[in-house]
Subunit: 793 residues, 2 copies
Amino acid sequence: MDSIMIYVPIIMAIIGLLFMWVKRSWVLKQDAGDGKMKEISDHIYEGALAFLKAEYKLLTIFVIGASIALAVISFIVPTTHILIVVAFVFGAFFSALAGNMGMKIATKTNVRTTQAARTSLPQALKVSFGGGTVMGLGVAGLAVLGLTTFFIILFHFFMNGTWTSTEDMTIVLETLAGFSLGAESIALFARVGGGIYTKAADVGADLVGKVEAGIPEDDPRNPATIADNVGDNVGDVAGMGADLFGSYVATVLAAMVLGNYVIKDMGGNIQDAFGGIGPILLPMTIAGFGILFSIIGTMLVKIKSNDAKEAQVQGALNIGNWVSIGLTLVTCFILVKYMLPETMKMEFFGEGLKDISSMRVFYATVVGLAVGGIISSVTEYYTGLGTKPVLAIVQKSSTGAGTNVIAGLATGMISTFPTVLIFAAAIWASYAFAGFYGVALAASAMMATTAMQLAIDAFGPISDNAGGIAEMSELPKEVRTRTDILDSVGNTTAATGKGFAIASAALTSLALFAAYVTFTGIDGINIFKAPVLAMLFVGGMIPVVFSALAMNSVGKAAMDMVYEVRRQFKEIPGIMEGTGKPEYGKCVEISTKAALREMMLPGILTIGFPIAIVLLGKLVYSDNDQLTAEMLGGYMAGVTVSGVLWAIFQNNAGGAWDNAKKSFEAGVEINGEMTYKGSDAHKAAVTGDTVGDPFKDTSGPSMNILIKLTCLIGLVIAPILGGHNVETGVAQKEQEVRVEMMVDNDAAEAIVSYTTIVNGEEVVQEKKFVGTTEEVKKQVEAFRDDVKVQIER
Amino acid sequence: MDSIMIYVPIIMAIIGLLFMWVKRSWVLKQDAGDGKMKEISDHIYEGALAFLKAEYKLLTIFVIGASIALAVISFIVPTTHILIVVAFVFGAFFSALAGNMGMKIATKTNVRTTQAARTSLPQALKVSFGGGTVMGLGVAGLAVLGLTTFFIILFHFFMNGTWTSTEDMTIVLETLAGFSLGAESIALFARVGGGIYTKAADVGADLVGKVEAGIPEDDPRNPATIADNVGDNVGDVAGMGADLFGSYVATVLAAMVLGNYVIKDMGGNIQDAFGGIGPILLPMTIAGFGILFSIIGTMLVKIKSNDAKEAQVQGALNIGNWVSIGLTLVTCFILVKYMLPETMKMEFFGEGLKDISSMRVFYATVVGLAVGGIISSVTEYYTGLGTKPVLAIVQKSSTGAGTNVIAGLATGMISTFPTVLIFAAAIWASYAFAGFYGVALAASAMMATTAMQLAIDAFGPISDNAGGIAEMSELPKEVRTRTDILDSVGNTTAATGKGFAIASAALTSLALFAAYVTFTGIDGINIFKAPVLAMLFVGGMIPVVFSALAMNSVGKAAMDMVYEVRRQFKEIPGIMEGTGKPEYGKCVEISTKAALREMMLPGILTIGFPIAIVLLGKLVYSDNDQLTAEMLGGYMAGVTVSGVLWAIFQNNAGGAWDNAKKSFEAGVEINGEMTYKGSDAHKAAVTGDTVGDPFKDTSGPSMNILIKLTCLIGLVIAPILGGHNVETGVAQKEQEVRVEMMVDNDAAEAIVSYTTIVNGEEVVQEKKFVGTTEEVKKQVEAFRDDVKVQIER
């Protein structure tokens, strides 16, 4: 029988989507300004739609291809159900839908923000953040709605809506993994393609416009201007949205998988008010409540004074953010107490079964909430305007581009120190509290306020666009000043948002990694086996090569753009005088095509390597699927460790270079002299920023998708590696636990013997107990329970 | 009883050292030129000595401190013997001695090469390569002499010169690890300190001399010129020498440790003509013969024509190199056949005992020899003049420093792809052939021709210096042309030498890693345990932070140099007119002090972290040393994987930038136009090279030391983590293997039962055999042997 609790996340998701709809109507009702503004905004909107359309074409082909592959797998592997294809298609569809909604509202909000900025700053914030809220709630609402609905359907399909066994639930969750895989595949296209798009347009527009033709940024005479503005939406809005949509779904899924194994560790059956699946429902429920708290948080983001500065705007965002996090914390406490058994049994690898109180799970969620915040702060320290590391880069700019670049690289590299230590401490602590279920719940708690995080993230590019429109429409200076304040805050939130995104991707990957190990039923992943160690090396290399490919792609795409802009400047008469009209559409097309073309190779790398490793393993160790599974696990670990490092390095180096360059706008003191824009030091800083651009907006953020998708593919492949066979094989042996007991007066001697498989061979194990009859009986009973669990695993 | 074979390596080493002495006398007898040349050469010699002197002071303090720490450990841990301190001191002393000899001969050879270049190119090659040969043979000879002598002493001290048991030999080898630790500690100082020294002097000299004052490179008016030339010797000669000395010793040691465990797997006792320690002697013997073949190789390096170009010089070096490698290959075949049992038993983790023929060990050495060559070729492809990747960087220079830097970074990153795949394949293949003993022997074979490799490496900086002296002494142009040919070849060998060094460091680390696991007696390293996984992350971060610290150090030290040169230009009258004499010594002093000061932090990071992890583990898991050992193992794996990646990335990016810049000297075609030195594109390429300098000469090569030293520290710590206790604990259980056999006519049933420890609890395991009496007897016997070995491990 279902518990009503299973429907709670759906209700929350619907509330979120309703609120989103109301907010959306409100934003669209706002004044969209006059002729020129509207015209530019329409260009951006159309450019964004053109990208989406081209992307969807490619996606459709990809989804069809991948679906066929999945269908073939599901026919070959008896334990994979064909429904995984349906889940996959829906996952992809929901993710694309969320991206579509977000991009549309963002491109509609930008001009309305410009118009609002003509009246007052508070109003401009209200409109731009309103657009961000629509984006955030859309993503979170669709994610929870889709995942929960699918879970309920599969739960009824495979288990008739009642708990039967861990094995059955495993099939439900394996099929549900298709939904997550679909979502993350779309994220690959959106994040990597979007990243290439935005930087190709940006670099291309700057190289010819600013450097060669000497016209300012966002000048309407530059044919690549529209593409540049579209890029902000494609990369920063849609890319980030798809990224977090994927993390959100994957985190909750992984936590559910591990919840299922908690039930197994407790004997395969628990009694609670939630149909015996409390540990599985918990992560979904936390996600549902998170939507509610994000709504509350967004309502608190407002300023009153028209003379507010960056600090006040940042403060307003912080209040909203902290309130939603605080409410999530309290709710985690209540839900954990309410939904989990007071004491659970969890298997700790190599340490055996342990009793874990539900409070320890709560502590794990505290770890998750804390880590999200701390890593964002660390990111801000290394990349924020006026911080010590950024000022050091500014100083190094005085001796040229070379020293500036070295300083930026070193800053990004050093920033891995605190970040990784915090991260390692978080893994360790949440695991110590509640095993890998704890790690997954830490991630779930962190991701609960995704809607709020995304609202804060999306508001940045919207404001950036609004400023661009103000510039292109030649509006009064105070309008640009107001949008600049919002934009400046947006730059900070972009950097911290990247910290949040990588932290969430990393925790998600670890949770998926743990789910993978439990799915395959292997004895952990032992890197003292050389094939596994070799794969750890290969995995470590992938993020580095992926980053290089992404960076090169930007370079190539930017060159295409440069040639097109040069052509237009030469061939269109009167373009520089403002009488000839640039062909914006051509530039949009070039960016679109280049982005989609260039993301193929990184995509193939990401999807192809795990499959290649499995094929290689099957070939070489045809009789040992377990070793192949360990090899793939080693690869996953390598990708995750190296990917996290390179993400931190690239994001923070890029962010620091960006703000080092920006520092010159207000003027900086170098060797006792005030130095401004246009100085040699500033030019050196611009070079650094050019290097940092693909780092922070293309290759760096792509790492998130790479590590998550790698682990998800592993999870989907897991059943092929014979997890089930082993499980059922061992499960049969359960019958063979035999107890022989000899009682002599009050003294007894008992021998428990059971069959297990060591190195592929059946081995009979025995344990002897001696003592009083009562003692022996108790010991035997306890030991038999242990053994049962041990065998089932 | 000793086998005579144990003394063979010593004899070879002595032959090598004698040949070195002859060669040394010959080089020193060469004409050292006239007044000005001699004066400059003396300045360089004195500068190098000044650095050595300052370094030795610091080293003495370090060695005393570390010896006290080791002595304390040996008192606390019963299984660590106080002799480890003696071994450590001697290891440090031998390494320093080798460095001293190499540096002295290099600084004596440079001026003699200049003088020889006045007569002919063949003579110049003969002299410069002669100096390199002295360096190479000195390093290799001292390494083999020291290690073998110490082994014999310890073998007699602990085992009376006859085989007793694996446990006793483990104590011998654990003590011998002190020698390796001493050598590698000195390498840390030499490589990291040398790297900082050379780049600080180089960058400092260029920034003020070339850029600000507009005087050419190596101009005697520049006060930092001497420091710059000293730097070439300190960094490229002494640093590389210490690095390879350390690799050489560590590789042979690790192979000996794993050879000891092969004997254990074979029942703890083998009969052969080498006192039962053939597998342990083999790596030393290969190293000994390698010295001989290096001598033969060096004798083949000569050219005849005075009009020879780079290709001929490179060809002469290649012939020598390939002949020595070929001879090593043949000898490996003979030695393996001669010294190893025809069939060995080796334990493959998770796969059980396997029969391994000695030919498979030979195949592993083939893998090692091939990998060294292939990785050098790959390095050349990514960094050589005129190769596709380098030309691509040249093209990107036309759009500015930003695109040049991005292209260089991307090239370095992409170069990890083939390198890591080859490397992973090598690990896998050599392991598949002969387990981790195979991996260690692959490394040993590769390292056998170290003397030859080092001769080729050291010849580069000697020629570079010779050119500098020609310039400073204002010799005729043809002299500089001749030295430039040698220098150009030297640049290529420097890049491929770095490929060789990282490949050897990586294989060495893996062998040490395997030795560590066997020493601690843990069940492999399972990254599915969260504390282990957390340490994998932390380990992965260390090389990144280490690199950043090294890069920042160069920046700081270079600034010190800039201020000093500026001061001299201002304060010394007539310095620019050539009438005032610059204070070279001041600049040398600054580089020396800065190098030694700045290397402290990276040093502390390297040594401190493994110790901190053990303390943390002991604190948190006070009852579970095995888990702490696994955590440290995870850390070691993280450092190695990440360190290898960052070494390849940084070395190759730096090398590619360097040659992209050099391409402009002869002129390159960009977009159809010939472009030369002084163009904007060239300036962009210079910026890239500035970034690449610390990459390829400081942080990149330091990774070698970082990963080796980390694994060595782990090995020395291993006994603290209780490996011995567990081993003896299990060994007692051996008594409890029991066979019950029931015979009925010809049919028999047997039960073998034995006690083993699972999760810290004693468990009785049983196996049943049914069949004819004869069959059962055979099966039982085979199984019992297996079980015995299994229990002992």
